[in-house]
Subunit: 164 residues, 2 copies
Amino acid sequence: MQTRHNEETLDHLHHSMISEFSKTLEMFSLNTTESQLFVILYLSDEPMTLDDMKNALGKSKTAMSNSIRTLLDYNLVERVWIRGVRKDLYKAEKDLYGKFMKAYVNRWLDAIDRQKSNLKQIEEHIQEDEIQSDRQTSVKLKEAIRFHDALEDVFNDINEKDIY
Amino acid sequence: MQTRHNEETLDHLHHSMISEFSKTLEMFSLNTTESQLFVILYLSDEPMTLDDMKNALGKSKTAMSNSIRTLLDYNLVERVWIRGVRKDLYKAEKDLYGKFMKAYVNRWLDAIDRQKSNLKQIEEHIQEDEIQSDRQTSVKLKEAIRFHDALEDVFNDINEKDIY
DNA sequence: TATTCCGTAAAGTTTGAACTGAACAAACTT
DNA sequence: AAGTTTGTTCAGTTCAAACTTTACGGAATA
């Protein structure tokens, strides 16, 4: 009876853990399924197949396939090959903090870079067309670009800092 | 004709600026309308009313009212009072970088704190119930909490750093 | 070679976020 | 006091993201 009790609590525990921890991971711009999927893999000792995940989360195989692919893109999950096993196997990357931060920061830096060059292009247009009347906008534009520079600095700093 | 040309380009310019700059602001977990609204206010010299914004963005007054309220909550926008003007007036806060970073980091810190204490509570449950069989989960749980600590550190550092 | 198995693509469905317009309550004007 | 004006609440609509089921192609197996 004690065993049975433990089993139930353990199940409940796993469930809470998935539910809570995944909330944090969602803040890294992962959606619910992706986050939960990662936690499942993170908690599992052995690599898992799509069917394993499907059973663990109670969702369709397609959903698993899609989510695992974005996790792979972000380099948060690794594909594992085991001799004799036909299905694809996946496991969570070891370095939790490092991987998540890197994925996160890179996404920021990419976006900042893209947007900054867009703003600079607008700035060029102003100069080419010699628009006189809009001093104010020009000032704001410079300010906005400066804002992007500052963001770039912060996120670069995060990348350089090693905590673990 | 040159003037007419300028007017068109200027309009187009404003439009581009709103479109591009707001993309960056969306990354601070603002939705499209909130971001665009901020840029509009940011570009405007004078404080604006809900109707002004409505016209600028071509959306309903309700949408403006809702979005401006979240911007207020995040302290990204300020309400302004001018003698004799009946309508509410709003303007963008001056310190672009500082305000956005603070709002963003605080939202992270709040969430991390909440989730961390949830995980700790789960940890207590394990100890109370004296579940023996699950060494592995217990280890992962500690690791996850450590992960949250690391996140807390990073975001605290950002807050302390002053760029401007 | 035929058949089974696995992952992904395609098509259709569900659900929630974002938006609108109408109705309302409070404040202001006359 | 009656009538406007203004911001917000509420009820309903629209649309995109997330999910499911079915179908398919390519690899493994017999």
